[in-house]
């Protein structure tokens, strides 16, 4: 229904939309614009020099590489988690289900110091892992642990509702045609779950790339080794290198916007393929 002005029955449209646009502009659009404007004070060569300096490149490798790995871990375990929550009954399930959202609710700094306490050399797990030669805290592995923690709910909460809505008829048909459970999962269920799984993966990845609070405590923050890009922005700010900080921020923003675009597309695909089943 694309009714014209005259057919609008409900009041308040100009006020509601006007307020929305002004608030959006003041809080989001103008501040974001400021970042791009500030970076425009650099010439292209200067901009390129800043964003391709060896230390900055190393931080991209850490941030994007570890985020990708964490999102992949979350995709696998998040799928198992969602499956178990939907398909099986076991004691304590309600509590487990409620606590899946802990990474959303727990402040990142709290998660950061807790994970560090667990994996440090004298920590609960660290004291057992370090004699085995496995140093977690203050290495890229620690970043992986933090980003896996942060990303878990994204995959579970995007896959879970799709699994819940799934008709049993699909699987019954597969079983009656002689497929075993693994075949049914691979050929029938996985294709249906794939859009949601990819959406969750992309959401977890996008969040991990920008994550700061939970990472800096456990990362050790060694330049070239375990320094994430958001930390580099802060380091530059603390040295009053506003332009340098802004240039790196622009790179991250562009990546974020591309990811947002991708996620929107994935969600459209997910909704459409759900409508079909």
């Amino acid at each position: 229904m694309s009714a014209g002005q005259s057919r609008r029955v409900l009041p308040g449209f100009p006020l509601a939309l006007g307020y929305t646009l002004v608030y959006l502009a003041l809080i989001v659009l103008i501040p974001l614009g400021a970042v791009f404007l500030k970076s425009a004070t650099l010439s292209w060569e200067q901009f390129w020099t800043v964003i391709s300096a060896p230390r900055v490149l190393a931080s991209y490798r850490v941030s994007f590489g570890v985020s990708l790995l964490a999102a992949a871990i979350n995709a696998v375990f998040g799928l198992i988690f969602a499956w178990v929550l939907v398909r099986y009954s076991f004691p304590g399930k309600r509590i487990v289900d409620a606590l899946v959202d802990l990474p959303f609710a727990l402040p990142t700094a709290v998660a950061g110091i807790a994970l560090t306490a667990i994996y440090a050399g004298n920590g609960w797990l660290g004291q057992w892992l370090e004699p085995l030669g496995l140093k977690v805290a203050f290495t890229p592995l620690g970043i992986l642990v933090a980003l896996t923690f942060i990303g878990l709910p994204f995959v579970v909460r995007t896959v879970q509702p799709v699994l819940e809505d799934l008709d049993t008829e699909l699987e019954e048909a597969a079983a009656s045609l002689g497929a075993d459970r693994w075949q049914t999962f691979q050929r029938v269920l996985l294709p249906v779950l794939l859009p949601a799984l990819l959406t969750g993966f992309a959401l977890a990845f996008a969040r991990a790339v920008g994550e700061y609070g939970s990472v800096i405590f456990i990362a050790g923050n060694v330049p070239m080794v375990s320094e994430i890009t958001p930390l580099l922005i802060i380091t530059k700010l603390e040295q009053y290198d506003y332009v340098g900080a802004t240039a790196i921020a622009v790179v991250m923003l562009v990546v974020s916007f591309v990811l947002l675009f991708l996620i929107n597309g994935l969600q459209l695909w997910a909704n459409r393929s759900r409508a079909r089943t």
């Binding site: 646009l21 608030y23 974001l32 110091i113 019954e172 802060i234």
Partner: protein
């Protein structure tokens, strides 16, 4: 809650477990549950328990001393103040945006919805940076603000702005799909029967979306009180003046005062647990409308 909730909950899983076509051999089920619970224990339960174990490691007295210390108290007050400003502002915005988007048709609606989600995909550090570029000493408005003796960066207004930005989408993204799913007929009937716009909103729309609204507000509040990266950039870490609770945790931790750091952190962990409890209750109370809302969106960051 108890049995009344447990029945449909377990019944849903049983539907799969009792059907030959949708159940796995017992050993597969056992292995999958074990993997999920091990992952749960390692990544969710252990960090949560660590916070409390470390907080009480040196006993109750040290714990309470850390909480009533003046810097901690001022951090608590500041955290409450920032949330008390940021959450209502985003609440009003969320309602206005949802009213415009869900109850009317206009061009660019999809774009507007995407723009509202934008803050979720921006790194908190960049959120802080934006406001430094605008209001910092070397920022666009810096000189003007200096001349008029207004402090935004390294002061409370900066903390509020950064917090509003990172919590911007929470209420709106909860309400928009919910109000869209509920359609416009009820409101239109109220208006045709002679109700005013405000009456329609308060008596028809609001009762329909109250659980979704509460849900959005809780998540918004949890993030507002717990935000670290964005406020860290704009705060300047002035003890007793611009330190919120998460920043206080960082300062204490970096001073190797672990017991106090975890004591303050345990307050935030309690807040997180409370948020999850209310969230579960809300989901239970408003299951139908909330599910309708959650289907069409992702998960709040």
């Amino acid at each position: 809650m108890g049995a009344a909730v447990a029945t449909p909950w377990t019944a849903r899983a049983r539907r799969f477990e009792e059907n030959v076509a949708t159940r796995e051999p017992a050993w597969v089920k056992g292995v999958l549950i074990t993997i999920a619970l091990a992952f749960f224990g390692l990544f969710l339960l252990l960090p949560l328990m660590t916070v409390f174990a470390e907080a009480f490691r040196k006993g109750w007295q040290v714990y309470f001393a850390a909480l009533v210390e003046p810097d901690a108290l001022s951090a608590i007050a500041l955290t409450l103040l920032v949330a008390a400003i940021a959450v209502p502002l985003n609440l009003v915005f969320g309602v206005a945006a949802a009213w415009a988007i869900a109850k009317f048709d206009f061009r660019g609606k999809q774009l507007l919805t995407t723009l509202i989600d934008l803050p979720f995909s921006v790194s908190p550090v960049i959120a802080g940076l934006m406001f430094v570029l605008l209001f910092g000493m070397q920022g666009w408005f810096g000189p003007w603000l200096m001349a008029h003796d207004v402090k935004i960066i390294f002061a409370v207004p900066g903390l509020v702005l950064a917090t509003i930005f990172v919590t911007f989408p929470f209420v709106a993204r909860e309400l928009i799909p919910l109000m869209e799913a509920q359609g416009r007929e009820e409101e239109e009937a109220a208006i045709v029967l002679g109700a005013s716009g405000w009456q329609t909103f308060w008596r028809v729309t609001l009762p329909n979306v109250k659980w979704g609204l509460l849900y959005g507000v809780i998540l918004c509040n949890a993030r507002a009180m717990g935000e670290f990266g964005a406020v860290s950039v704009v705060s300047g870490h002035i003890r007793g003046r611009t330190n919120t609770l998460p920043l206080q945790v960082e300062i204490l931790y970096n001073e190797y005062n672990f017991a106090a750091a975890f004591a303050v952190a345990s307050l935030l962990a309690l807040l997180a647990l409370l948020t999850l409890v209310i969230k579960s209750l809300v989901e239970w109370r408003g299951r139908q409308p909330l599910n309708a809302g959650e289907e069409s969106q992702g998960v709040p960051a």
